[in-house]
């Protein structure tokens, strides 16, 4: 087990009701876990708690068996890497410079990345099909390309668990499909992946297990095919949702108001 979280709850200071509570989640090497739920249900906050960036109000997060709060940031970063939903840079760093930063947890305080990091960076960018962007300014590429650059940074960081917050949000339809294949490939190579998404289809396409967070019901975690029923999805999102199955694929369609 790479990461095991039990009974997590999180409340913002000064607010009575918690954003979420009773979330338990664990993940092993090569597994993909998807987190689904409507806006504002606390998916991003949960990911931040799992990555040790926010302290949960209750519950525990164990990373390779150790409480995450007891580990140094560098030790955490060698085991897990998060790709947040959005990131702005002030400086026009080159893509190469940004991706090389993934080596930070592996280097001493006064060290800078050398030839090995340069090679890893070139390989990672090629793997993701964006080798041509290596000298481009990170601030001048598109949102989707930045997403891929961040994934490249994770590959260079070489963690055991990758946590992605809505990775498909900035991608067009084709790139979404390519991205799903990429996550599958990475998982097949042994990387554990936790991701949030607004598309239940992606959970069906990718995830071994899915965590569904609903505003008024306790969170449920289970094998994707078993847990993502029309009833659970409709309940979580508050609109009637139908599943359409065809040739091994599952598509989720929301019923529109008849008018």
């Amino acid at each position: 087990m790479i990461l095991a979280a039990a009974n997590l709850a999180f409340s913002y200071p000064g607010r009575a009701s918690p954003v979420f509570s009773g979330v338990s989640l664990d993940i092993a090497a090569g597994e993909v876990v998807c987190v689904l739920g409507p806006n504002g249900v606390g998916k991003s906050t949960l990911l931040r708690c799992l990555a040790g960036l926010s302290a949960p109000g209750a519950g525990s997060v164990l990373l390779e068996g150790q409480p995450i709060a007891s580990l140094s940031r560098a030790a955490v970063a060698r085991l897990l890497a998060l790709v947040p939903q959005s990131y702005e840079t002030v400086f026009a760093f080159s893509v190469r410079t940004v991706v090389e930063m993934g080596r930070a947890p592996h280097l001493g305080l006064f060290d800078a990345p050398g030839e090995e990091a340069a090679r890893m960076t070139e390989d990672a960018l090629k793997t993701l099909g964006i080798g041509h962007l290596i000298d481009a300014a990170y601030s001048e590429i598109s949102g989707g390309e930045r997403q891929l650059v961040q994934i490249a940074r994770v590959l260079v960081q070489a963690p055991r668990l990758m946590i992605l917050d809505e990775p498909t949000a900035h991608l067009d339809f084709a790139n979404q499909a390519r991205f799903l294949s990429l996550v599958r490939r990475l998982a097949a190579s042994g990387l554990a992946v936790i991701l949030t998404t607004h598309a239940p289809d992606h959970a069906y396409a990718l995830a071994d297990r899915t965590l569904v967070m609903s505003p008024h019901q306790p969170p449920v975690l289970g094998a994707t095919g078993e847990i993502l029923t029309e009833t659970v999805l409709s309940g979580a999102y508050g609109v009637p949702i139908r599943l359409i199955r065809s040739g091994g694929h599952v598509a989720c369609v929301a019923e529109l108001d008849a008018q």
Partner: protein
């Protein structure tokens, strides 16, 4: 391959320029000295060379011009590096090493010392101490109110800065307008005109290790400049690293101000200038900033002491010379900010 040629050219230029300017600066001034004699006088300090020049030349080169030339380079290079680090740490192009109140605190400290002691070493020590005190107050305020954000720290600098500026005005108001007030005013405008080796030694002792520390940490500054959250994700202990960076930069700025008075502009604009030349990566930016800052203030100080009989204060010249040059660069090049 054109970029790599440009790169090496820029590197050669940034290494050679300070050395050339350093040597040229000894030739400038009222007392004419031959270039070869300068090299001989300096070399005679380390090598057994028969003295074939008048003793007054030794004095002009070593006691008058050397401390001044070194001071200009140390102060200029130091302020520029401190400015680049502040801009990186705060991720803000408008930030300078004086943003957290160093200059306001130092100005007040110098005025206190001028009024109470009227003695140069006390002025230097007081300016240094109050410069550090101002920044410490920003951090104390941040800690006390648990603000924990860089924007709050910058706003703290505004508050502390105005407080010390007001206190300085009060001192100026009560200072004797015939004797003390002009001394305070002239100190605030910035000058290196009467720097001696004894003034310079403590500044070098503080500045050189701090600049070396910042240079050693410069790749981490790249990571920190990506933002707190990103840096933490990449395994950086953000609060600790930021504190170390600000502490080192502040020590540099406070010791620079303590010897030269308030010389603005260098710490704000030289980092931008360097960014246009070598790009935003701190691995190249910080050494470039060091070189350009040293060269820039050296040129300015050479101008200050040669162009007119009465010296023009440096704080005025840095802006008058720098503004049009920077405007040109701004129009032609890219700033390196998103």
């Amino acid at each position: 391959m054109r970029t790599s040629v440009t790169r090496s050219l820029a590197t050669i230029l940034l290494v050679a320029l300070p050395i050339i300017l350093f040597l040229i600066s000894f030739l400038l001034g009222r007392y004419p000295v031959e270039p070869l004699t300068v090299i001989k006088v300096i070399a005679a300090q380390f090598l057994p060379i028969a003295q074939d020049w008048p003793p007054v030349v030794t004095s002009v080169v070593l006691d008058v011009r050397l401390p001044r030339v070194l001071a200009a380079m140390v102060v200029g290079g130091g302020l520029a590096v401190a400015g680049a680090c502040y801009q990186g740490v705060f991720r803000n192009p408008l930030v300078s090493p004086f943003t957290l109140g160093v200059s306001a605190g130092a100005g007040f400290g110098a005025a206190v010392a001028i009024l109470l002691f009227g003695e140069r070493y006390a002025t230097q020590a007081c300016a240094f101490a109050f410069g550090l005190l101002a920044v410490a107050m920003c951090f104390a305020m941040n800690r006390f109110f648990r603000l924990n954000s860089t924007i709050a720290l910058v706003l703290g600098g505004v508050i502390v800065g105005s407080l010390f500026t007001a206190l300085l005005s009060l001192l100026k108001y009560v200072a004797d307008p015939n004797s003390k007030l002009p001394v305070i005013e002239f100190w605030l405008l910035g000058s290196l005109s009467s720097v001696t080796t004894a003034d310079l030694v403590p500044v070098i002792v503080v500045t050189v290790p701090c600049v070396a520390g910042l240079l050693a940490l410069r790749w981490r500054l790249n990571v920190l400049a990506m933002g707190d959250e990103q840096a933490r994700i990449m395994g950086v202990e953000v609060a600790r690293l930021r504190l170390a960076m600000i502490l080192l930069s502040t020590l540099i700025a406070a010791s620079a101000v303590s010897i030269s008075g308030i010389i603005g502009w260098v710490g704000l604009v030289i980092p931008h200038f360097a960014r246009i030349l070598v790009g935003p990566d701190f691995r190249r930016l910080l050494p470039a900033t060091l070189s350009l800052g040293a060269c820039y203030l050296l040129i300015i100080d050479d101008v200050a002491r040669t162009v007119t009989a009465a010296e023009i204060p440096l704080g005025i010249l840095t802006a008058i010379v720098g503004a049009p040059v920077f405007m040109l660069l701004l129009g032609r090049g890219r700033l390196g900010w998103a």
